[in-house]
Symmetry: C2
Subunit: 190 residues, 2 copies
């Protein structure tokens, strides 16, 4: 499974492509950061980031796009721009026919470091080690994008099992309801 | 000037096209609301709204897109989705080569009702009257999109004058700095 991880941002948007080779094995395919100028108009900045994401989807043909889930609680000043970028990325992935998975920052940190409140340096160190990179990806947004992609490689089988279990339990609930309904009708008819 | 007003939202996104005919005269060209299902995946919802905005740009050929400026302060539950839609809309407008203007809800309310804290009903009533519509646009998101477009028609000349004044004052500052620099060099040379 090939995952494009996106750490959304206007000033720096991290992009990382990782191949999951089964089990815990992961391989880095590409990593970079898209930058836009803070004094450029917002629509131009969103267009520049979106165009680069489209190029990465075209070039690297990921099976899925993993995006950091943005929360409105923290970083009120920058959160709107981050949310706008994440919306553009999710829309472009859907347009390319790709599934999109959202992971929270603590899910990502817990996946790669074992600790949901790990610092940026810890994440970078673990990403470098897990992907056997010769040097640490810089800046932190690049490492975060790779961490997101790794997180998705590892969580995907579990998320699939949960989705299947949910579908099964919804099916059971429907069958149960149908039996109750049939019993009610039989009671009315008798 | 033709303005496409967009009141961004995931469940309901208001779209309204207004022609500004000089002075305070405005004419309604089209108004509608795009709806997406709350239980559909977020990327699909963003894609559906984005596709409709692209169709409106193609069909109505606006000169500018006016979007409501989203704040992170209120409605924390829905604000992220709203921000994501506004990002998609701004990006698509830029992609179509159109300028994007953001207006705050109170700027819009003040423009059409004279009162920045006007209620939804007041906005709808004034929009209906200003555009001489036979019936009030429903739901409120449709009226809000038209109000945004009207607001832009009326504010655009003032915003243009402000931009020109800013450009002039930046030019004057540059000229002043150049004169000082020339005087300093002349002083050094003498």
């Amino acid at each position: 499974m090939r995952v494009l991880g996106v750490d959304p941002g206007l000033t720096r948007c991290g992009l990382g492509v990782v191949d999951g080779a089964g089990g815990r094995r992961v391989r880095c395919v590409a990593v970079d950061v898209v930058r836009t100028l803070a004094d450029a108009p917002l629509p131009e900045r969103l267009l520049a980031v979106g165009a680069e994401v489209e190029r990465w989807i075209e070039r690297h043909r990921p099976d899925v796009v993993a995006v950091e889930r943005v929360f409105s609680q923290h970083n009120v000043r920058t959160v709107m721009g981050t949310a706008q970028v994440s919306g553009v990325v999710a829309m472009l992935a859907a347009k390319a026919g790709l599934p999109v998975a959202f992971h929270t920052p603590s899910e990502v940190k817990a996946a790669v470091t074992g600790e949901g409140r790990a610092g940026k340096q810890q994440v970078t160190t673990m990403v470098t080690r897990l992907l056997a990179l010769e040097e640490a990806p810089r800046p932190a947004d690049a490492a975060d994008a790779l961490a997101l992609a790794i997180c998705h490689c590892w969580r995907a089988p579990m998320l699939d099992r949960m989705a299947q279990a949910q579908a099964r339990s919804a099916e059971l609930a429907r069958a149960h309801k149908a039996r109750l309904e049939a019993a009610r009708r039989a009671g009315e008819a008798s």
